[in-house]
Each structure stands twice: as C-alpha cells, then as structure tokens.
Point group: none
Chain length 738, copies 2
DNA sequence: CTGTAGGCGATACGCCGACAA
DNA sequence: TTGTCGGCGTATCGCCTACAG
C-alpha cells in the first residue's frame, strides 16, 4: 500500500525490481493496484477523486517538497553517500510502539553502528498518507574507531553543496491546520486569503460570485476536485463541493493539516499532515507488512557480520527520536558533551505549532539500559525540562538532540530578509519562539497566523543564517548558564568510557547509570590542537590498548580531540545539520534525497571527480562530440594532458550512471552515455583494481535471500565515491524493514 | 489483520506467541486492535457492531462450522497427523494469482512432496473476512516410494474417522445469497422464512408487528445488531435497522452470501462468503504480509533438505485447485489413472450454486510444464468439457480432481438421508445436477432455492458416500465410456514414472509432454502389486542414474529438435500451456508484458557486472551473433580470456531478465535472450552455488528465521503421533506463507 | 480576515406495504 | 414465499449568509 516517490519518472522500472527482489513488494503501485481498488470501494465511491495510477503519479521535484512538508518540521533525512550512525536501540524503540507486546532481542549488537547511506527512498503509505523513508545502510565497521583520513572526511558527507536541490523551482505552498468548521460535515474549507491567492488559480473577481474548479493531486497521483468559490461578507475563499469527500476519505479531523503546493507548472498538489497523535506507532501497513519484527535486529546483525547492506524504515512522525544520525552530528555531540547541570534547548514538534523549543537542564548522564545496551549514547542524557508544556517530553534524550542555549540572533542580518514574530494564537508560552517566518519577496506579507507561505529557497537561506549565528555563540559547557550549576563536573563522555570499560564498572560495584563530569576540557587548547592534527592520524592509534578484535561497544568511542577538530574545520558546513534545521517540514539542510539530483535536474554540466582531489569539476557534455573529445577535455581540465587518451598511462575513466552503477566510460554509444551519465570519475588503474575484492567468501548468508535479491544488489552496491568501500560489490543485500 | 480461530479459548497465550515468534504476527487480535480501531473509524462509526476483542471471540466448535460454511462446499482440509502430497507447482499457481507480475522460481523441487500434516489452523482475514488455512507440513521424503507398511497406512489417515470433528454439536445454519434488494441502500434484508424460523430466536407472533433485536457475532467476535421484524403482506422476516451498516462495513454486494448459524447455546453467529470474483487472488492482507513471494519455494526447499516443517497458506476460495492433497487420494488417482478418451466428472463451485458437477472427456495426459516441472501430476490431464457452462473451466486438471462417471447411487443408502433435486433457478442447464442437498434431520425441509440449510456433518457424510460409491464402480480405463476412444492406450502414470526416469526421456529424445498409453495394465494385477510393494523400495532407488548433486539448470534444456517435435505432436493438448497456463482467463505464466528497467530504455548496450568488481562494462548485444560470440566478447572485456567459454574454469555467466529473474545465460534462444536481458553478471561457480538453496548445510539456513520461530516450533512439534516421525522434534520451523 | 452558527433546500436513508413472479 | 418497487417520513449533507472575535 505504499508508493515510492523517488523514481516518479521511471516508476516502471522501480516496480519491476520490487516485484521480484525486495522485501517491500507492497510498495509497488502495480502489483497491488487491483487489491487496492477492490478494497477501497465503498458506498462513498462516488467521490471526487480519480486515480491515474497508470502513469507516474507526480513529478518528483514538487513531490519531494510535498513529502518533506508532510513529514513534519523536525524531520531530517540522511543523505545518500554520507556516513551515519545507526542506533539499534532507537530502532527497537520505534518498533516497540508498533509492536507493544513483542519481546525485544538485542542480538549483541553494538549500541551504535556506523554505516554508509546507500540509498534513501521516500515513501508514502497509500492507506493513510503517512510518509516514511526506507534507508539502505552499509555497515562500516572500520569506522568504529573513526579513523578517517581527511579525504574520507569528505565522504562522510560534510554537506559541501549546502542544499541538495540547487535548481529546484520555487514553488508556493501553504499549510493550514484544519478547524472544527473545516472538518465538520456542516461546511467546506475556508482557505486563508493570501494563501488562496498565492496558490490557487486566479479567480475572475469581476463575476458576482467567482468560482472555479480546483484540481489537486496528492502524493499518490490521485486527483481531487474542489469547487473553489469566493463569497460571503466579507468575501473569502472557500472550497465547498468535493471537500467533504476529501475529508472523509482521508479521515481528517480538526487538528490535522492540509498542504497546498503549486509548482512552477501551476499544477496544484495536495498533502495532509496529521496531528501528532500520541500512540501512533507506525503506519498500519508497515505493521502488517513487517510482521517479523523480531527479525529486524537479527538481520542487522547478519548484515553487520557479512558486511552487506540492510534496510531500515523510518517514520518521521512515528516517534520523536531518530535512530539514524549523521556521523558528524554524532561525533560532535559526543566530543562536546553536555555536562550534568548544563542548560540546553531542544526542538520539538507540537500539535499545532510547527516547531518550538524547550529548555531544560541536564540532570545526569548514563546508560538508559545498562544491561542490554551498555555504553550506548542512546538517550544517555537525563534531563529536567523548564516549562510545563515540555513536561510530557522524555526524561531522557540523546546527546545529539540537544543544543546549548543560544542568544537571540543579532538583528543586523545582512540581507533583504525581514524578521517577523510569529503570532502564536493560543499559546502565549510560545511567544519566545524565535523567528520562523521569512519571505522571499515583498509581494505580500507572508506570515500568517500559525501558517506560512514560503518558498523552499527562502527557508534555506534563513536556516543558514540562524545557524551561522549560533555557531558563533556558545558551545558545550561554556554556556552562559553554566553558573547555574557551578559545582558540577564536566567530563567528556567519550573519554570516560574509554578509560572505564563497562565490565570494570560492574566489578567495582559502581553505579553504571549515572556519571558525573570530572573535569572540564581546556577549550582553547583543544581547538588549537585540533586544526593541527595531521590527516591520517586516526583514533585507533591512540587507542592501542584495545585488543584488535575486540568488538565491544567500547571501541566505537572516539577520542575527544578528534571531534573537536572536526567541528572546527567544518564549522561552516555544519550548518543546520546539527539539529536538522527545518521549517514546516522542509528539511533545510538535508540534501534532497533525490537521487541523481543532478541529472533529473536541469544541470547542464556533469560533475567530474578525480581520485585524490577533493575538488570536483564540471563539464558540459552537450558541447562535446564524443569520447575522444571528452577525454581531451578532461585531460585539459585536470592538467593531465595525454594521460587519459592513452590507457597505458594507467588512468581509468569511469562513470556513475543514473542507476548508480559504476561503469567504464566508452562502452556505450556516446549519446546514450550522455543520457545516463550521472558523474564521471578519474581513477588510477591501481585504484580500479582495488575495487575488485576477493571472492571466495564463506560467510553464512541465507541463500534464499541471496537469490531473491541478487539483482537488487547491483543497484544498491553502486555509490558515489566508489573507492570508499570496496566491500560494496559483495553485492548482496539483506532487506530488512521492521 | 487475521484472527486465529483454532485456539479460541487460550487466545491470550496464542497472541503472545504470535507476537514474538511466528510469521503471522498480524494474525493477532491484540497487537493490532489499536491500529484497527483507528483505521476503521469513519463517519459511519455509529454502527451497530461492537467488538469485544478482550474475550475469546467465539467458541471453537461453532466457529469451525462457520469457517467451513464460508470456505465453500468443496473445501476439504487435510487432517492433522495425516500424510498429504504437496504440489509446489500448484502452490505457485495460487501465488501467481496474488502476484501476477512476479517471477516464478522453481528451486529444483520435486513436483510432489510427501508430508505429514503437523498442524492445521483455520484463520480469517480481519479485513475482508476471507477464510484460509495455514497448514504446517513436515516433509517425509521416505515416502517418495510410497513404501508404507500396513500399519503406516493407518497413520496416513485412511479416512476412517470420516469427518474431523466427531463430537460436534449439531447446529442450524442458513446461507443466503444477497439479492440486489438486500444490498441496496433502499432496504433491509429479507430472510427466508424457514431459515429465519430455524435460526433466529422465536418472535412473539401474537403482536401485531412482532419484532426483536438480533445479536450475531462474526468470526472476529464482533457483535452485529439487527432489528428483526415480521411484517408485510404476506408476512415475512426482515432485518432492518443495522443491516445497512453491516452491508457497508463488510462491503457486501449482491451475489455475496451471508451465513447465519445458531449453535446449541442459541448464540447466533454470522459470516459472509463473497461471490467468486474473477480476480480475487489472495486476501489483500496476505499479499501485503507475504510480500516475499519468491521465497516461498526456497523455504520449502530448505525445509525439505533440512527435514523441518514448513507452512503453507491455503485460501479455499482463491483458486479452484488444491495443492495439498490427501495421500490416499493421490495414490488412488495415480494407480487408477484416467486414460485419454475416458469420460469423467468433476465437482465445481459455481457462483450461485453451492456445488455442481461437470462432465468431460480426457483428451490427453502429459506434463503441464515439462521444463520446470517434468513428470508432475499437477494438471497433467487435459480435458474437454461437455457443457458450455463448464467451458470456462480449466483445460487441464489434476488426476485426483476428477472421478469416473458414476451411475446414480442406489437409493437404498443406509441412512436417514433423503435426496432432493436442487432447484436451479436461473440455469436450466444445471438441471441435471445431481443431488447436493442433504439434511440431517427431518424437522423441516432443508432445501431452499439455491441455498441450503444443512449441517456440516451431512456434507461430510455425503462426500464420503460419494467416494464409497466411486470405489465400488468404475475405475480408470474400464469406464463405460471407453468405447468412445477405443484405440487410446492406457498406461498408469505412476508406474511409468517409476520406470522411465526423466533423464532417460531426454536421452531417448522422447516426447515428455504427452504420453500415449502404450498398453493397458491388467488392473487387478496392478492393484495387487501396488499393495504388495515392499516398504523400502522407492522410486528414488530406481532413479539412481541421476548424479545426486547435479542440479545444473542446463539440464533442463531440451535438444533443438525437441521443441519442434513437441509442437507437432501436441497441437491439441498444448493449448495455452506453453504460452501460459490460464486460470480464469488469467495468464499464469505469461511474463508481465511490462515494465522494464534500464532498457525500457533506449540504451542499446547491456550492462555487465563481474563479481567482485565495482566497475561495470557495457556491451552491445546487437553486434553479436550468439552466445559463443558473447562469451568471447565478455572474456575480452574483463580480461578473462578462455575462462568463460569453458565451464570448467569455474565461472558462470548469469543475467537478469526484465522480470528481474536471475537466469543462466545460454538457455534461451539467442534473440529471445537479447530481448529480455536486462543485465549480465559474471560470477564464480561458488557464488552461484550459494544462490542455490538447500545445500544441506546448517549455515545456509538463516539464523534469523530460526530464532524467530523457535517457540512456535515446540508447539507445532507436539502433535499427533510423536513416535511416528522423530524428525519433528528437530523443532525448527520455517514459516512460509506465500 | 476567518471561525462558528443558524437557515434551509436537496438529497439520501431506510421503513413500509403493494404487487408479482 | 420473497424480490422489487413506489411512497414517504426523517436525518443528514452541505451551500449559504450573518456575525463576532
């Protein structure tokens, strides 16, 4: 009952793959369309919607927006190719919501698993429009020690290109939380005036009672038709006929929200975002599908031991804690740990407000489950919240969820942007909520009551701004609130864990659940050292005492200095990644998970990366006449005259196609190559050799699954930077999704 | 979304087990009750039904009846402890209905697998009330030769205790096919008079307008309330208030049927039986749940090799052919085979009639799919039907589905049973349909128009009766219709297989698809021999010539001349089989015309990936002249000169076709290969081995599944005759359910 | 500007007996 | 005996304006 929004264009291909090989066959439109139509027919079938499932449901760019808009403001998505930290404990936590009575298995997994993101799929549940993602992860056990060279650091995914969708057209959207009147059977939908004027086709106001028919497609490609009328005294925009059908079919209630989004093509899109309801675990269909919940972790364990990919479903709105965290965010959080007594702030999604922050104080740090998950960072921070509203929040949070408190940003923001306070309507407590509404142009005031009209681009700008400010203020323990707990000790978590492995704790009879910070790190010093650390010096070097094969969770804890360096070098790039800055569901930083952004896009140039060089070039293939021409041009670009056209010089030119397969340049006809190429790579012959891995593996892998997913493998095995993980080509994939 | 009717009493225990250990966790009432209530709420929530999921939904005896009543008259269920024959081919056929676009894998299973029934669970889909069973089977490879001692024969389950529920209380039920009026929004439900008087609580007819409230529970334990009134001129029984809610919630349409059943405790039960709709494959939830359809047979293969149990879901009404057959029935059918030209009869379930028979003549006998399933009995009988009504039946049936024609049974049946002609209503052609309605008692006439009032027991008895008669009359070739095809030859199938192992056929260049009967066996002799075969002499012994481990797909390739010959000889019988087995107009084999991958593409090159190499190449097949050429080219591309053309070098060339099946390169005609190939893979032989399942090693079994089902195992293993099959206690279970 | 309420027509729901097959 | 139809009272739907925050 799911649809995949990722490959809207080549939906057909997607489906074929699904049918045979992947766990989520039900995510296919085609194989289930028949059952869908039969099960959804009811006495209400005389609805105003029409599904055209035969054709690609929607254009991907606008749907990406829609997806994010509906996922909720705090949703951050991992980026393809990046390194992330996966927390099985958090995964279980989400599962526990869906399977309240299920037993939990731990499978002796480490509390955090470093993975490379091989794929991100945006999906929408066809039953209830719930959005979720399916993330394909490849374990990177070698990152357990965080031994990244500077080159690899690049691959970790410090978001160089700040937003992933550079060429995306600006679109106009609005989101309105439904009132009782909107959802009552009594009437229609009252559209906020500016929103309607911005998003809806223009009415002919000269008529005495202007009206028209609106057609809007939802994420599934289903068309909904509404009578749009402008009437009443004073005049207002209303959706009447068709609206109640929509409400009842989508099962909307007051408090839910609808989203209207108009793309450049003036096509209207429609989404819903349900109110946060307390125990909404996972979408029903997910539950139904992935009934083998206890297998989840075992599959992860399997994937881990065999170095194969596994899959994880993540429902942004199902739980408040994310269990797949950007590597950098994780590193940063554990290298700049909060101390007991430190004040912090944290973002929340509230029922009716798109985003708000709560402040609190750290009351302790320690394992949330010292028996099953010793030394896990998951929810290791115990907190007390300041405000009542936040009192129903968790008593435990994870280090990366919280930020140090921040001063209001200076008002002298260098830009044409204006600030505007949000009218908070009901909740006066939210008055201190900082700045959310920005407008891109001055055509009209863009801040509505509790809603916004905005463009993606403007939001992105703002996010950078805010974070930039933040980055210049306080860090870690040096918070201005530090004096509130002057006597508390501060001790970096990572360090402490290294010196006191968990067994020792028990032997000593100590309380493993609560650690107090022992000392403050000298900040300035660290900062200085950080930037002078040579690339290639890995944490492992410092850690020699650990036996090499010791896979105890301990090993995954980095040394303190390392992260500092990271943060230092990357201050800028960090922006927004830290807490996943988002507004109205637009992930402001998360790079468009779309998949081949560059070719789906109108980008006229193809990126070229040369091995060993951090800096890429771009080349316009349309100006070239063939491979010879290309090679010459590449030689020129990289100052490699004569090296590429002659294979004997030892260089190889590869490319990633839009299936993300890495291929040799030159095999295909030139024009087809131009069609499918996504990125070009220049490697030395030796490097290419190294991409070939030893075969003769003897791991125990269920042959069944191998057979079933064999071709999926070639897809998932292909990545942006091929040199980073040669194991990829093991090519086997364990598809696990709850 | 399923509930289990088997253990109504200890539902709670059941549920807990489900959650953790079995594949059908969604079959639990408890874990899904919350999601259910949320998803089913609608504007209609003011319904007259109330669910009391907290308590056991129903007493099991009456539900067993209800289940059977809804499964349809022709449903026969295997009995726990009995030996059955499982046909993977038929299993696939049912799956194909549910997954029309999925590729089929055969996994080199034998066409029939003898199994002991370890458990039978009656289940009902909570979404659409579809009933189905989950059967746990333990392979009994030692029965391959049918080497049963007389004692064992007993265990096989010669149907001594004729029906599986001997102590069941008699209950009263009726089933009415809904009319347009019944389902129109206009009115209520008109209950047949006698039925209402039999099943419903007695009304006080003295009142001017007698009425009462009926409460009936469905299989899920949900209570439905109806106003039952007796009014009109002439008087009639009507269900008014509450009825329309039931209709709309259950999504009933005219043609569907409702069942009312009153047990001894006077509690009223209610079920529905949907009309046979052409495309209703499996229940939706099954589809959603068991999305890993291609794994089904692989799991069976695994179970077979490890002698562990596996599970099979059987939806009585999803397809007309059962793929789990009582051992005796199977043995009988192959030892008394039908011959070409022989007349036969077969039972059918029609849309509006509970049961009817069609007659026809055998037009040939031969493999329905000689490539994938050589020597399979599944649908090996080609038939032509006599009547038009039956013309939409299968052109192929399995031997056990058909009976020799039978004279009307002598009327002196030793019983209180009466015969009565069925009023056929619309279809006059069905007037010759013999005898279906039996009544157990004489309290009232039990035959209604097109419906029946009956007890299960009576149905069962009737079935046994028929079989008894059948056994005493004609067998096989001695049919009185034999003269219709006097020259056809008759050769017992089972025997033939024993003497002509399948390899021999190919070597001899014989036609494997159509066997002409070469000689009549002296019947009595065969019967005698059959029963005198010593235990221990199995077909496998005779087949020794086959190298035990030779599982190369290559073997299935017929010689070139072979196909032509095939076509020549077979004109008639062939129909539709090579081109695709059809079921209800549904192509079972035809490859999805669809959807394709890279290639839908205009890409003229085909991508080639070599195991262990991250970098793919591309090759233009249109420039090549055949497989040899291809291999040479591939060798050249990957620097493997001489390695691919010689299989002994250990390399295998596979390809993904556009159905995403992984296939061996070389099987198909070259041009067809070029048409369907999507991607080519080069693997080592060992890697390919690993894609083959059931290599007997313990580690090929995914430990995930073991862990997941471990507790379930102990349940299912404690069954029946523990001493009969000690392997049961292996305690492992592979849960496969589509 | 927009949420809510009341007016009120249109429609659908659903209970009824008549009638006929 | 029971399927279908027209009659008809009633409830709900849903379009409208008025009014108020």
């Amino acid at each position: 009952m799911e649809i995949d929004l990722n490959h809207a264009v080549n939906e057909v291909e997607k489906t074929v793959l699904c049918n045979g090989s992947c766990e989520k066959a039900s995510a296919c439109v085609y194989c289930l369309s028949s059952s869908l139509s039969s099960s959804s027919s009811s006495s209400y079938s005389s609805s105003s919607c029409s599904s055209n499932s035969g054709s690609p449901p929607c254009s991907s760019s606008i749907d990406l927006e829609l997806w994010h808009a509906r996922a909720g403001p705090l949703t951050s998505l991992p980026k393809k190719g990046n390194v992330v930290v996966y927390f099985p404990q958090g995964h279980l936590e989400q599962l526990a919501l869906a399977f309240p009575f299920s037993p939990l298995d731990t499978f002796d997994l480490p509390p955090q698993i470093f993975c490379k993101v091989m794929n991100v799929q945006l999906l929408a549940n066809k039953e209830n429009d719930e959005v979720y993602t399916q993330v394909t992860l490849l374990p990177q056990p070698e990152l357990g020690g965080h031994n990244l060279g500077s080159k690899q650091l690049d691959e970790v995914g410090a978001d160089e290109h700040a937003d992933g969708s550079p060429s995306k057209p600006t679109s106009h959207m609005f989101c309105k939380t439904l009132t009782a009147s909107d959802t009552s059977i009594h009437g229609g939908f009252s559209a906020p005036r500016r929103a309607a004027e911005d998003c809806f086709p223009r009415l002919d106001y000269k008529q005495t009672r202007p009206s028209q028919e609106l057609v809007a497609k939802d994420l599934h490609g289903v068309e909904w038709r509404f009578r749009h009328i402008y009437r009443g005294q004073p005049r207002r925009h209303l959706l009447t006929t068709g609206w109640s059908v929509f409400v009842s079919q989508k099962n909307l209630i007051a408090g839910d929200a609808v989203l209207f989004l108009r793309g450049e093509d003036r096509e209207l899109r429609l989404g819903i975002r349900r109110a946060v309801r307390p125990r909404t675990g996972l979408p029903d269909s997910i539950i139904a599908k992935h009934n083998s919940y206890p297998k989840v972790l075992s599959a992860v364990a399997n994937a881990l031991s065999t170095k194969r990919v596994f899959q994880v479903c993540y429902c942004p709105r199902a739980s408040h804690a994310e269990f797949v965290i950007p590597f950098q965010k994780y590193i940063k959080s554990i290298t700049n740990p909060m101390c007991t007594g430190a004040r912090f702030r944290m973002k929340f999604e509230m029922d009716d407000l798109p985003e708000r922050r709560s402040n609190g104080v750290v009351t302790g740090i320690g394992d949330s489950d010292p028996y099953k998950w010793p030394n896990s960072k998951w929810r290791c921070v115990m907190v007390r919240w300041d405000d009542d509203i936040a009192s129903d929040h968790q008593e435990r949070v994870s280090p990366w969820e919280i930020d140090p408190p921040v001063f209001p940003p200076p008002l002298s923001i260098p830009s044409p942007f204006r600030l505007k306070k949000l009218r908070t309507g009901l909740q006066t407590a939210a008055l201190d909520t900082p700045i959310t509404g920005f407008a891109e142009t001055n055509r009209f005031p863009k801040v509505l009551q509790g809603q916004e009209i905005c463009s993606l681009r403007s939001l992105t700008h703002k996010a950078d701004l805010n974070l930039g400010v933040w980055a210049k203020t306080n860090h870690g323990c040096n918070s201005f609130n530090m004096n509130q707990a002057p006597n508390t000790n501060c001790y970096p978590e990572g360090l402490r864990n290294m010196y006191f492995p968990y067994n020792e704790f028990y032997k000593a009879g100590q309380e493993p659940k609560m650690y107090s910070c022992a000392s403050k790190l000298p900040r300035g010093n660290v900062l200085f050292n950080a930037s002078s650390i040579k690339p290639g010096v890995s944490v492992d070097d410092i850690r020699k005492p650990n036996p090499p094969n010791d896979h105890k969770p301990m090993e995954n804890i980095p040394s303190p200095g390392f992260g500092k360096k990271l943060r230092n070098q990357q201050n800028e790039c960090y922006k927004g990644n830290v807490a996943g800055c988002k507004l109205f569901g637009f992930s402001l930083t998360a790079e468009s998970p779309t998949l081949n952004s560059q070719n789906s896009g109108k980008r006229s140039c193809t990126k070229v990366h040369k091995q060993g060089s951090l800096v890429g070039r771009a080349i316009d293939l349309s100006r070239l006449y063939g491979y010879k021409d290309l090679m010459t041009e590449l030689e020129h670009l990289f100052g490699m005259e004569g090296l590429l056209n002659d294979p004997d010089k030892g260089w190889r030119v590869l490319y990633t196609d839009r299936d993300n397969d890495v291929m040799v340049v030159g095999d295909d006809p030139w024009h087809e190559f131009c069609d499918v190429v996504s990125k070009i790579h220049i490697y030395t012959g030796e490097e290419v050799e190294k991409m070939t891995i030893g075969m003769g593996s003897d791991e125990t892998q269920s042959c069944l699954e191998e057979a079933a997913v064999i071709m999926e493998a070639s897809k998932s095995s292909s990545v942006g930077q091929p040199d980073s993980s040669p194991t990829v080509m093991r090519g086997m994939k364990i598809s696990v999704c709850f």
